[in-house]
Every structure is written in C-alpha cells, then in structure tokens.
C-alpha cells in the first residue's frame, strides 16, 4: 500500500515535505489507523494523534485524499492509492499530522458548553418529555474532532472570530435543551457579524462530518431562534 504523508518537524525542517511510504497491510488491518500504527513501528518519527480507535475520541482527524475524516473509521478498501495524508487544513501544524487546536477549543469554551440553570436541582434529575429529548439527537453526538471546522472556508478565512460549525453545533445543543435557562444570553452572544453570521451556508461541514451530523442545520436553527427571539 502506497502512502504520501505530510511531514514537518519544526525543530529540524524549514519547510514541510511529502514523504512516500510503501507498506504491506497485514490480515487484521482494516482501517487507515491500523496502517498508520504499523507505519509508526517502522518509522517512529512519524507523529499523529490517536486514542480510542473507534470513532469516539475524535483524536485522529486528518485530511485523507483531500477530504477530512477519522483515520480509525476510514476503511482501507475504499482508499485510492497513493493515499495522501495531510494535517487538518487551516489549522497551525505542530508536527506532521498533529495540529494546534487551541483556537478551536477556545471557540468551543466561548459558547459555554454546559447546562446553565440556576434553579436548585430536583432530588433525582431534571425530567424531559420524549419530544424534548428528541431535539438533542443529532447534536449531542459531536465528538469535537474538528473535521467540519477544518473543512469550512469561512473558518479558514476568520479562524479567530468565527466560532465555526463544531462550536455552533454545540451552541445549538444547549439552546435546544429544555433544561437550559440561558437561551436568550446564548443567542445574544451569537448575534454577531463574525461569531455566527460568517457562515455562508457552504455546507462542507455537513458533507464531511464523520459522525453524519449536520452543523449547517444547527446553524440554520440558531438563525431561526434569533429571529423568533427578536420578533
């Protein structure tokens, strides 16, 4: 199997380069991450993030043949060779396939990704109707892998100001939660020319999400919620 992998070591390299590898997958290798781990045993200078290897932690997001995805979910038999691997586009590279996600998580924290409810909690739990719970489906599953934000041109253009599809999906997850009482404050924060309205409805986010979620739908719902709030 042939791979072309983006290599950059800030300590030794002035410029990034593409390195070619030829490796034979073994019988148990089904996903791209299996091959990368095997490659690491041959060339231990190759750096990439990985953890759960089953699409839950979101660590191994990378650009695979021009499209963002999770190496652990990418089947080998679907890949066109040579497999070109690059770090997530638009993010500063720390080393090889590892990117700096500081800004991404700063945006995530800015939307207050936790339930806000000053009322004292009931003895057991805050109950929801099945319909109220249903509204959270398609939102809570986000694993913050950043595949969507790193595939969003608006995020490439204004990464310091636009919250990005992942952050906005998370924002709507709490706006849509019947137990949260800070909807108005959340919407006021998002009503900004940069934070929300840099989205140009390109919909790359929805197209590329490895979990099959739709950040663009969540963004549309936030816009509608803002419209309802102001009318």
């Amino acid at each position: 199997m042939q791979l072309r992998i983006y290599r950059f070591n800030p300590d030794t390299d002035a410029q990034p380069r593409m390195q070619d590898y030829d490796i034979t997958p073994e019988a148990g290798d089904k996903k791209l991450l299996d091959v990368l781990i095997r490659l690491k045993s041959v060339d231990d200078s190759l750096s990439f993030r990985r953890s759960c290897r089953e699409g839950i932690c979101g660590s191994d997001a990378m650009n695979i043949n021009g499209r963002n995805g999770l190496a652990c979910l990418q089947s080998l038999d679907e890949l066109k060779q040579p497999v070109v691997l690059r770090p997530l586009p638009g993010f500063p590279v720390i080393r090889d396939l590892i990117v700096d996600m500081t800004l991404f998580f700063a945006h995530y924290h800015s939307i207050k990704p936790y339930l806000i409810n000053p009322e004292s909690p009931p003895e057991r739990e805050r109950l929801q109707t099945p319909e109220q719970r249903e509204r959270l489906n398609g939102l809570y599953e986000c694993i913050l892998c950043a595949c969507c934000s790193a595939f969003c041109p608006s995020f490439w253009w204004n990464p310091d100001k636009f919250i990005g599809p992942a952050g906005l999906l998370q924002a709507y997850r709490f706006i849509a939660d019947s137990r949260d009482t800070a909807t108005a404050e959340r919407l006021d924060y998002l009503d900004d020319v940069y934070r929300l309205y840099r989205c140009r409805t390109i919909m790359n986010c929805t197209e590329v999400c490895p979990k099959g979620l739709s950040p663009s739908h969540a963004i549309e719902q936030i816009r509608l919620a803002l419209l309802k709030q102001s009318s």
């Binding site: 041109p153 608006s154 253009w157 204004n158 009503d191 900004d192 020319v193 940069y194 929300l196 309205y197 840099r198 140009r200 816009r223 803002l226 419209l227 102001s230």
Partner: protein
C-alpha cells in the same frame, strides 16, 4: 463600519431585500412583456410619474442595502489587512451612496420639468 447592519439585522435585511427585488424584477418583466414596445417615451412616462419615481427609488435603496451586505461579507471573508479592509468598505459605501443620490437627483430633476 463593519457592523453597519450587524449580525441578524444584516442577515434579515439581505433576505428581505432579495425577495423584494425578485418581486420587482418579476413585476418589471410583466410590465415589459405586457405593455407597448419599450422606447424612451415609455421609460420617461414611467419614471416621471410619482408612483414610478418612488418605486424606482425604493428599488435602488433595496439594491444598495442588499449590495452592501453582500459586498461587506465578501470583504470580511477575503480581505484581512485592517487598513485595506476599511478602505474597501468605505469605497463600497461611497459608490452605493453616490448611486442612490444620483438616482434621486435624476428623478427629481426630470419629475419637476
């Protein structure tokens, strides 16, 4: 200047003016197709009536609002240096304002004669 029609207000204004301009284009097409052959006299007659003049000004106001939000978005997306960004936004505002003023002046001058 960046925040002239900020956030939701700009988003709503852009969509509202888009719908209004679409209606204006359709109405204009109907007027073109159903009326007599289009010549200078017919244009003049339309634009010098009070209703025609007011509608024309309204269309240009909506065009300016729609154009401002769209052009501002393009500048915010693609132009990062602050000085160049402000200069471009200023130039766009100037062109839109000058166009509007010229439309009003032309209509007022000819309407008065």
């Amino acid at each position: 200047m960046v925040r002239l029609f900020s956030g939701q207000r700009a988003w709503v204004a852009q969509r509202f003016t888009a719908v209004m301009l679409l209606a204006a284009v359709l109405a204009g097409l109907m007027w073109l197709l159903l009326g007599e052959p289009l010549d200078y006299t017919r244009w003049y007659a339309l634009l010098t009536t009070p209703v025609g003049a007011v509608l024309t000004v309204l269309i240009f106001v909506m065009l300016a609002v729609h154009g401002w939000v769209g052009a501002r978005d393009i500048v915010l997306d693609y132009v990062q240096p602050r000085g160049l960004r402000l200069a471009l936004l200023g130039a766009i505002l100037l062109v839109l304002a000058a166009t509007l003023i010229r439309v009003v002046l032309v209509l007022a001058t000819h309407g008065a004669t």
